[in-house]
Symmetry: C2
Subunit: 351 residues, 2 copies
């Protein structure tokens, strides 16, 4: 009988946050690639572009003029997918034709006045300002809305239509699918094991080390055991924290530091400004603020698409859409690669 | 109070096959697009390319030589994600680090000896050959494997690395996530309503008409009420059929006809060879052949990414990955657009 080697033998891994499985077929990295190659991201972005609606002092589609901001800047999305006042589609429906009301707000937050920087190239103090603003927005919109999704689409490959460093916040009158499943999974785990799922998970990974990318006294970044994207990571606090606005000053400082470390490694992997979608998940808000949400642990997901190089991504297509996610290298291989990359950004490195 | 208009007012719709919701924000189509534009698909594909491993008579990576086939041609994938003999990772695991054995086979099926045709440009008789082969493969691999996923990734945008018309079949020792959820949903519906979910759904849609794209006496193509991709469709038989190998000769004939109609409309939408991932879902096989699977209804899903033009797709990124799928036009708008397109392919049309 052959002995099992995860790098050579395909197997399934369980994702306890989504109650689903991923197929790990690491031997597949050996196949040649003759498919689509992405355009390398535009490298010469001007610091200020008079036509870019996100730059300080410019006029947006709505006719509003941006202030001459010098740190972060938050405004309402000019093309919001969620508006505060949509009417209700009404009830009394056939079970196969069910609809529900959706209300909310969409905001955009610029990270910095300059278009030619990204988070890893910003100073730690500037990243702390971003974290403070995230906390403030969550607190503000969380009064009303059950879910406040903070997310960043970085890079044209990830549907980002503007190179200026920014993220979005979509707050909704409903708990969306992904957090609803995550809530259910974390609750069931807590009821069974008496400790939050992700608190236990962080402890285990901190001991095992093989999937750790970077860590400090407050935070841990791992390629999760169940990662589906090639270089997907999970950013976890060591302490039990429900929501981002509960972070202490010290924890915001160490979060800025570890984000800078992680994102520098990401950029260094293929020496390109690394595309990804990332977002924060924490305990639900609005009416849920009054409930016991001890089963929740704050965390951020990073979902980067690149697989082989700056221009070849992993396609989550046919089999993945119709059957199950599949990955081409093990999470341990991905973690090791990221862990061993230099801490200094390739753009600022001296030769 | 405003009265509800699905084209103007965002709302949620329920997907009864996945027990999840999609956010419909049709007013969002009004926003301008300044983001990534895809390369238009390569237009001059040679009928025969001596370096293409899928062409008749050529040598593949494995060293095997393709026969001079003149219809369909099936072979084992040279870089399979699933192999028949992987060892078991073993049990006795922590609940947060669970793995399972995965075994299977991966096949590739060429639709036609020529590289410069696609299904809509093939003759009906040639498409019937493809359907016959699908049925044969399902029957053959279904003896052993619980799930046989037939799928086609079409176009470089959908990760397809070879322009030669082909699909894939991945058969597995496990029931993957998507069919597992679909099985659970269809079973619950059947137990509650005494009729298969998709049989009832097809009847309703055939009456309502507003989401129908094309239909004939045996088949119906709709943009489902819960579609997440802009021009997603669902291909449904009118009769209750568990698996593709149960189709009669007449039903294979009418299936070839409706596929040709649908795919011609797809190509005509933006006058481009329309990229998509598609696949068949039917009742599970292997050990499930002995069970009662009356809750299942055979169907095919088409997931095409294009949104605005031949080069601008819908990005399922930040919000969609972290919270919930969101669409920018209503399924009724998409169905109407497809329905009204000409039945003749833009490449063969006379001017
Ligand atoms: O096997 P192919 O066509 O080379 O690969 C394509 O389809 C597979 C199955 O959906 C995916 O896992 C790959 O990411 C994609 O590039
Ligand atoms: O709002 P943006 O950045 O223009 O749009 C981008 O992010 C949204 C939220 O993930 C997606 O729905 C869009 O498909 C994507 O292009």
């Amino acid at each position: 009988d052959l002995s099992f080697d995860p790098k050579e033998h395909q197997h399934l891994r369980y994702n306890p946050l989504r109650d689903s499985w991923v197929l790990v077929s690491a031997h597949r990295m050996k196949r040649p690639w003759a498919g689509q190659v992405e355009k390398p991201p535009e490298e010469h972005i001007p610091r200020y572009d008079p036509r870019n609606p996100l730059c300080p002092g410019n006029t947006r589609a709505s006719g509003e003029v941006n202030p001459s901001y010098d740190s972060t800047f938050v405004f309402e999305n000019d093309f919001p997918a969620l508006q505060p006042d949509a009417p209700d589609p009404g009830s009394d429906q056939h079970p196969l034709f069910q609809s529900k009301a959706a209300r909310g707000v969409c905001k955009v937050m610029c990270f910095h006045p300059w278009s030619d920087v990204t988070l890893p190239l910003m100073k730690k103090e500037e990243i702390i300002k971003v974290i403070d603003k995230w906390a403030e927005i969550l607190e503000e919109l969380g009064v009303t809305y059950p879910w406040v999704q903070i997310f960043e689409n970085k890079g044209a490959m990830m549907g980002c239509s503007n190179p200026h460093p920014h993220c979005q916040v979509w707050a909704s009158s409903f708990l969306p699918n992904e957090p609803a499943v995550s809530d259910r999974c974390q609750r069931a785990y807590y009821q069974k094991n008496g400790e939050p799922l992700l608190v236990q998970y962080a402890k285990q990974e901190a001991e095992k080390k093989e999937r750790v990318v970077v860590e400090n006294s407050d935070w841990l970044v791992v390629v999760p055991y169940w990662a589906m994207w090639p270089y997907q990571t999970l950013l976890l606090p060591r302490r039990h924290i429900l929501r981002i606005n509960e972070l202490t000053g010290e924890e915001r400082d160490s979060l800025a530091a570890i984000m800078k470390q992680l994102l520098t490694k990401y950029d260094n992997l293929f020496e390109v400004s690394f595309p990804y979608s990332m977002g924060w998940h924490g305990a639900p808000t609005g009416p849920h603020l009054k409930e016991d949400n001890s089963h929740w642990q704050l965390h951020a997901h990073y979902y980067p698409p690149l697989l082989r190089s700056a221009t070849v991504k992993k396609f989550m297509v046919g089999y993945e859409m119709l059957a199950q996610e599949q990955r081409d290298l093990t999470p341990e291989q991905a973690a090791e690669k990221l862990r061993n990359l230099p801490e200094e950004h390739y753009k600022t490195r001296e030769n």
